[in-house]
Symmetry: C2
Amino acid sequence: MTITAEQVRQLRETTGAGMMECKKALLESAGDFDKAVDVLRKAGIARAEKRGGRDAAEGLVESYIHPGNRVGVLIEVNCETDFVARTDEFRDLVRNLAMQVAAGGADYVRREEVPAERVAKEKEIFAAQMEGQGKPANVIEKIVQGKVDKFFSEVCLVEQPFIKDDKVTVGDLIKQSASKTGENVVVRRFVRFRLGQE
Amino acid sequence: MTITAEQVRQLRETTGAGMMECKKALLESAGDFDKAVDVLRKAGIARAEKRGGRDAAEGLVESYIHPGNRVGVLIEVNCETDFVARTDEFRDLVRNLAMQVAAGGADYVRREEVPAERVAKEKEIFAAQMEGQGKPANVIEKIVQGKVDKFFSEVCLVEQPFIKDDKVTVGDLIKQSASKTGENVVVRRFVRFRLGQE
């Protein structure tokens, strides 16, 4: 079993334990990172707080609270350097995205995040709406697919039309910003609270 | 099967469908609320958006973004009336709670929300730390319980010492506010984003 310097470095960063302790823990856990953290914690060496593996990601955490405090949004948008994160261009983008989530009520960042069961349920409902209209199956399938696409464009942030300019999608807006700043720009996550609702 | 006026009212509020349509849908679903919503959606009558059952809850959604935009918090605190929600007393409380979550890094509102597996894992780690110290089992058990209590007071918002006055817990602070405003005050939920971390 060979433990790399990189593994040791990551474990040190996560746990705050010494280099030799980290190496020993990794050997004991056969290189399994999470187990090595537990080993160190059991030995009373590691900090309890677990840090994520993406410390290097730069960007901004921003919020938007709609006047009246009944709707609020928290969003994290990543870029590659702290320098870009502090530009007006990036700050404006993040503010616009937070406002978009508040107004547009997206549930997901992108299509890939929508659970398959939710898509299946939507399809079932759309198909049921088509029943008894005497349309051929291939036409129904096309219409249902169109409705599913519309559903995605409603629940996925990057597919929504931008609230301040509906000629572009939010995804376009992000791409524009990425090309202006010369960095990869990614909406990592967001949450939206509406008073008294799930 | 009897459908009550209250069931019809709730379904109308959720779906925006007419009274008779709601009654029919509820009869068809044998009184099952979620199924009735699906029935109305399949009939193309209901709005797709599902509203929660707690529309009546008042309070505020508030955020706190730590300078530098690397840590942010979104919180919902409920009270009973909009009147109290708009008082300075309540607003101050909510602002303090958002700041507390940002600084104190709670993972849960209260003990009951901590998953049993997480508690079990902490216990296991604490017990392993005690091993080989030659202490009797009942002493170990007491020490482990003490450590578990300390763990709760670190991860549960209402058990943390208040950051602006550590002689009181956050729970005390909420109780004081509840007794001043004369209303039940409940931290409903919060999220905390830290840049680049889970």
